[in-house]
Subunit: 412 residues, 2 copies
Amino acid sequence: MKATILSIGTELLFGQIVNTNTTYLSKQLQLLGIDVLYHFTVGDNEDRMRNAILRSFEETDLIITTGGLGPTQDDATKEIIAEVMNDKLELDQSVLDGIQSFFDRIGREMTENNKKQAYLPSRCEPFYNDVGTAPGFALENDGKIVIALPGPPREMTYMFQKSGLPYLESKTNSVIFYKILRMWGIGESQLETDLLPLIDVQTDPTLATYAKEGECSVRIASKRATLEEAKQAVAEMEANVMNIVGEFVYSDNDEDLQSVTLNALKTEGLKLATAESCTGGLFAKTMTDFAGSSAVLDRGWVTYSNEAKTDMLGVDADIIATKGAVSPEVAAQMATGALSKSNADISISVTGIAGPDGGSEEKPVGLAYIGIATKDGVHTYKYFSNNKGREWNRYNTMIYMCGKLLAQIKSL
Amino acid sequence: MKATILSIGTELLFGQIVNTNTTYLSKQLQLLGIDVLYHFTVGDNEDRMRNAILRSFEETDLIITTGGLGPTQDDATKEIIAEVMNDKLELDQSVLDGIQSFFDRIGREMTENNKKQAYLPSRCEPFYNDVGTAPGFALENDGKIVIALPGPPREMTYMFQKSGLPYLESKTNSVIFYKILRMWGIGESQLETDLLPLIDVQTDPTLATYAKEGECSVRIASKRATLEEAKQAVAEMEANVMNIVGEFVYSDNDEDLQSVTLNALKTEGLKLATAESCTGGLFAKTMTDFAGSSAVLDRGWVTYSNEAKTDMLGVDADIIATKGAVSPEVAAQMATGALSKSNADISISVTGIAGPDGGSEEKPVGLAYIGIATKDGVHTYKYFSNNKGREWNRYNTMIYMCGKLLAQIKSL
């Protein structure tokens, strides 16, 4: 099956919002084995919308539209789709009831124009919207399919997962199952080289490697007649991949390193203390991004100035003077200081040069030292972030800290 | 002038990257008074590329392409454009020299396929690339214009600003000048209501309001024959806007509240200390996002547990027990504790319920108390973020802290 993703909304053409819907749907369709040939965006203009649909059907069998399903005058997506697909709009009472109960729930009066949303093409399969008011639908005509989804990303993704995906699976006569293994401590080119013997002979399951700041991942996907077969094929390939690069894998469920690290602390019942200089609170902030982090993070220090390092964590001022604030010695004392001044079982520290200024030949921008302390002692690590700017340096240092902390927790 | 933005790249159709180029260019063209009618994305496929260009020219006069200018086999954008525009590719020696010197600079050998990038349509106006290897260009034929830009966002924006913008300005016979006033402490609907007398009679300059998490802004834009006239018109309108909502404006230069707050501290020579509970380091992290923040941030505490609040900042354990950790009393003691335990001139604290759990009828998720202390005493503020999830709550609390801190600095 070949597809076009058609985004409808003048706000997109004005550049007021980034079109993440299209990225999301492209990824989802690819996983279903559906080829996306075009992305198309038009404003709330009936002629251009009609044109875009007619032209897309010249080369593709499936169009997924997002947007233009709302209650206002300029939301004309449904009308145009019904017209092109030789259908008419009819009132769907259960949609109307749903919209009414939505307004009851949020305690507001339903205005008259909201009723417009309850009209759907008569032959369509409705996609009910539990998280907003505008319903979506799938409509077939003459071997062509339109799936219409609302524009707000939260509603769109919810509705695609709940209704669009099962609908498309029923049309493709095959099931895709995939797993994403996420890794830390190996670069993408090394990963690809290591997996080349598997990639070279791949037909199904397919193997694809991806790189992200500081991390990389492998997607193992299989398209088979039944879910059972696809799962079995993925499991066999996963075992092969793990044989080669298993030591680097920290999640077989597409979780990120930050939450895996926090969960490892939680599972082991370890309390954490943080002592940050160059990251300025980013590491503590990251560890508290997730609900339930109060079970893990006891406290943290942001010791940005040299005096703060000495006052707050007892770092020896002479050591700062002789070795420099960015040194393994200072990182070690920050970590042991944080451990002794808290109720934590493990502490992590960082001192580095985030940039853009402050670097030297010996200690360039991007350099950081990390300390990890437990009652058994302290380890320090040197990290260089390949200086691509302050934000990059701080983010990658934080990711490195997660990687080293996770390794330490596993080795305890 | 009417335009289509045509993105070229299979990675977009796979959903591997978000198409931020199109958003950026849409915004830029809107500011130039050029109407964007379509966004279009095709893969590295010659037929579809050719089709997309021909179809776009049926309704629009200008096509801006991004991507497909690289050195590899599948980069065929230039060839197709030359063909459609009745032109031929020719070697541009100065581009070749530029690519050669780029490789010399980064100390790598130039491979043979890089020479492909030095071929440009013979009649084009070349856009030289100082930040990468692939040049862009503008090419006219029969009243139609194609501007070709490289795909990497950093190169694309650089080249658009340096070459594309002046080129288009020369074609539109008018100049746009605009200013963005950013505000805090007023909602978008209130802002729109307040400015309605100005908006209702607007022809030029135009006034547009925008809302962002916790903030809003007004864009004042004028399109005139000369820059002088446009600037004058914007200045007059700005004075009118300032008369009505000036008290809320924190930047007339589109800076964000976080950096304006940091710069205000810097300008006033004030040292800051932070004491965070629910934001877990986010505020300190934000204040250190910018270069030179070491002149401002002295130190920070992340007092996530109740014991940490007492141990680190001297918050009275009885007060926590009777008033609760999320209370104005605790916020005040955190702020005064941070001030007394640092060399700072001003301190800011926060204690709240980030969610998703931990809320009650009396103290719902999204509630936070902020304390700001100086040698003259401490003020506390109650904030409710309208609970839309943990990340939202924490981010908006941080923005509110910036707003209150900035107001306090200005009143000192």
